[in-house]
């Protein structure tokens, strides 16, 4: 029984650590924009390394179009690392843009934003992770939050936009 208890709360470990980190960054930086930037940068660095583990374990092959990529992100990647499966909606007519809807975002368990941090994008790390990971498979994307339960929205929505295929095989240097 002890072991089960310990396992259950191990998923809280990441959430707690992330929360403590954001708190610290808010102390270190003068404004929320800088915190957002820093979170995105850290996420990017995680993404470029996480993709290796993902490809090794998930066994997914090459994606033929952006729709397939969206499926893999939502159904395999999110499931594997965060234990949730966001739904995919709001495709743009050109098929180069879609939204991930997170019913619940494990990063924000136990979180409440104070009033003076209204422009803080708390979970911005996720955007960086997605951007970094996709860049490693030659895909440049724009990722941003458009809805956030922390800001009173009903759901959390991440908007992803395909920018271009990266042709040269040289990975961009880590920031």
């Amino acid at each position: 029984l002890l072991k089960i208890l310990a396992l259950a709360s191990s998923s809280e470990l990441f959430t707690l650590t992330y929360g403590a980190l954001v708190t610290q960054l808010c102390k270190d930086y003068e404004n929320d924009e800088d915190v957002n930037k820093q979170l995105d940068k850290m996420g990017y660095n995680i993404g470029v390394r996480l993709i290796e583990d993902f490809l090794a374990r998930s066994n997914v092959g090459r994606c033929h179009d952006f729709r397939e990529t969206a499926d893999v992100i939502a159904k395999v990647a999110f499931k594997m690392y965060l234990g949730i499966t966001p739904s995919i909606t709001n495709w743009s007519p050109a098929g180069d843009e879609f939204s991930l809807i997170l019913e619940n975002n494990p990063l924000v368990d136990f979180v409440e934003l104070p009033d003076n941090h209204s422009s803080l994008i708390y979970s911005n790390l996720l955007c960086g992770v997605l951007r970094g990971a996709l860049e490693m498979v030659q895909m440049a994307v724009d990722v941003k939050f458009v809805q956030d339960t922390l800001k009173g929205d009903g759901v959390t929505e991440i908007r992803m936009k395909f920018v271009k295929r990266i042709e040269d095989n040289l990975p961009a240097g880590e920031e």
């Binding site: 310990a6 650590t17 102390k27 850290m42 390394r49 965060l82």
Partner: protein, 150 residues
């Protein structure tokens, strides 16, 4: 679902980011650990009856807390019976990604500060003030933090 890897990567990024920005990075990192330690010990002890004595608390630290964070128990617990304890982990998760050898020995404090804070935070939440230090005698991954009880 595997969040241990995610945690390890986050920890590594944290160590780099916080220590690169400022002189007091190690302290900041320890502070982050402290808050996590407090939160975790609160959650982990929710279902357990209160501890009888110091040794009980240390056992909780070596087993429950260590398994939750580092996926294994502490390998060795020693005490001088005067309030000093030494926990030894022979395969410490957060250092296991670093290469062997002396080369990275001076980098090690960056990767230990979080854990020192974690232990301190957990102990403080259970009513003990402590100082915790860590040393890495040999790479890879000996981890003897020493909480002194005051």
């Amino acid at each position: 679902m595997d969040d241990s890897l995610l945690f390890q990567m986050l920890h590594m990024e944290m160590a780099h980011a916080l220590c690169a920005e400022q002189e007091k990075g190690l302290g900041a990192l320890e502070g982050v650990g402290f808050r996590v330690g407090q939160g975790l010990s609160e959650r982990l002890t929710k279902e357990t009856p209160s501890f009888k004595d110091e040794l009980d608390v240390l056992k909780f630290l070596c087993k429950d807390l260590w398994i939750t964070v580092f996926k294994k128990q502490v390998d060795n617990l020693r005490t001088n019976h005067q309030g000093t304890y030494m926990l030894q982990d022979n395969n410490f998760l957060l250092l296991s990604q670093l290469s062997n050898g002396k080369q990275y020995l001076e980098e090690a404090p960056k990767f230990l500060a979080f854990t020192c804070g974690l232990v301190k935070g957990a102990l403080s939440n259970l009513g003990f003030d402590s100082t915790v230090t860590a040393e890495v005698p040999v790479m890879p991954s000996r981890f003897p933090p020493m909480p002194y009880r005051i």
